[in-house]
């Protein structure tokens, strides 16, 4: 297996250019590669389309002063820094700043049911043209979508999602890019690792090629282009 290029978080951030569509793994920042996000914040690239389960954790608004305070986490950092043109997510309730940016028309928001979001990304990485789901039938989500009756039940056609780059939060990554996750940090990471032109995996620990062992690999290294993290 080919060894993958081991780069710094800053070099990974340099791969993200103005206007790109970026998938970011994680669920309320659990499993998000924060080290790479921090470098994207420093780069100040603009007009990103973010595909993520949620808008991360946003800063809290002080009710007396009207000022935002505290820290944001995950993609919340990119929203705070006004780098996001559009976000495609299932839930943004933990980020009041995004709510304000959306209401004032600064940031576009496409809300997608969580299961539909995961499956659209899976389709994007799996060569599928879309899928039919019962989720959202008879709701606002169904507007403009094909409805098909299969075995007497209604389904909506949902289309695949693909990105220019995916930022993946792994736990142990070997030098061939084989990746293991930990805890609930899997979430959107494995499907996103299949659905982007360029895939960067952050590993808390980087080990020698083969050290994970073929039986225990969760994301095969062939999906991965760059490795970040570990001791380097």
């Amino acid at each position: 297996m080919a060894k993958k290029q081991h780069i710094t978080a800053q070099q990974a951030a340099d791969l993200v250019k103005d206007g790109m569509t970026v998938m970011v793994g994680g669920f309320m920042a659990n499993g998000t590669p924060e080290a790479i996000i921090d470098e994207i914040v420093k780069n100040r690239v603009k007009n990103l389309t973010i595909i993520c389960n949620d808008a991360g954790w946003g800063r809290k608004k002080n009710k007396t002063t009207g000022e935002y305070e505290g820290n944001s986490f995950g993609v919340g950092k990119l929203i705070e820094n006004h780098q996001v043109k559009k976000i495609i997510a299932s839930h943004v309730g933990l980020n009041p700043e995004l709510g304000e940016q959306y209401t004032s028309g600064v940031t576009e928001l496409e809300l997608v049911p969580q299961g539909t979001l995961a499956e659209r990304i899976r389709c994007g990485g799996s060569g599928l043209g879309g899928f039919y789901t019962p989720t959202g039938v008879g709701t606002a989500i169904a507007e403009g979508k094909e409805v098909k009756v299969i075995n007497g039940k209604e389904y909506l056609l949902e289309l695949p999602l693909h990105a220019d780059i995916a930022l993946i939060g792994g736990h142990i990554v070997d030098k061939s890019g084989n990746t293991r996750y930990i805890g609930s940090e899997r979430n959107f990471n494995p499907v996103m690792a299949m659905a982007a032109d360029t895939v960067v995996v952050f590993g808390e620990k980087i080990v020698e090629a083969g050290e994970i062992g073929p039986d225990y690999v969760e994301t095969p290294g062939i999906f991965v282009d760059y490795i970040v993290g570990g001791e380097a």
Partner: protein, 217 residues
């Protein structure tokens, strides 16, 4: 009953709907109280839609930074639980592998429609996994206060944007237990603190009183 007692009362009644071995997904808020009221002989498996079964509370003082619940706060996992990605998590949910989901609602109506994800012009939190859960779970239990500050939440027809069409099976409030049937909403149990007239007055939909109606406790 004060607010906390109302919530506990509802959660205790919901607990009786769950069976040993059930795979259950609990929404945020009131539904998370349900496990406290399970009979000791009933062991349920909690599914957390961000990607595991065997959800437990976090070990206080020894939280594992790698595990959060679907609200993004620290959680734990049973020794025989399992983690998976979001695609598998929602295959479990849509695929009919979840026996019951318990969730709150802004509005429910007599056709079993539910609205709980958006108040246009006000609140845009997003639906998260709720749309998938109400469509996919075998039994959908709405656990909520009967009214919103006196305004009915159980309506003839929802006025807020729907989360799903015709998916609610059971509604449990501090006033009663109601089943959604093709004929309408059947009041099966009532809280003796209220008269049937009081319960109907707090409900916009016309309640069908079950022949064998009984007290809630």
């Amino acid at each position: 009953m004060d607010k906390a007692n109302v919530k506990n009362f509802i959660a205790a009644r919901v607990a009786k709907e769950l069976h040993d071995g059930d795979i259950v997904n609990l929404g945020i808020g009131l539904p998370t109280l349900v496990p406290h009221f399970l009979d000791p002989s009933v062991h349920i498996i909690l599914q957390s839609e961000n990607g595991f079964v065997g959800l437990k509370p976090a070990e206080e003082g020894n939280e594992n930074p790698h595990i959060v619940n679907s609200g993004g706060t620290p959680a734990g996992i049973a020794h025989d639980g399992a983690f998976f990605g979001s695609d598998t998590s929602f295959a479990i949910i849509r695929g009919g592998h979840v026996d019951a989901t318990v969730l709150g609602a802004l509005q429910v109506d007599e056709k079993g429609n539910i609205a709980n994800w958006i108040i246009p012009g006000k609140m845009v939190p997003g639906m998260g996994g709720a749309m998938d859960l109400v469509v996919g779970a075998k039994k959908v239990i709405v656990a909520m206060e009967h009214t919103n500050k006196g305004k009915p939440k159980i309506l003839k027809e929802c006025t807020l944007p729907l989360t799903a069409k015709g998916q609610v099976n059971l509604i449990i409030t501090e006033m009663g237990v109601m089943e959604v049937t093709p004929d309408g909403i059947v009041l099966k149990e009532y809280n003796p603190e209220f008269t049937l007239d009081q319960i109907q007055d707090a409900t916009e939909a016309t309640l069908i009183i079950a022949d064998d109606i009984k007290p809630m406790i």
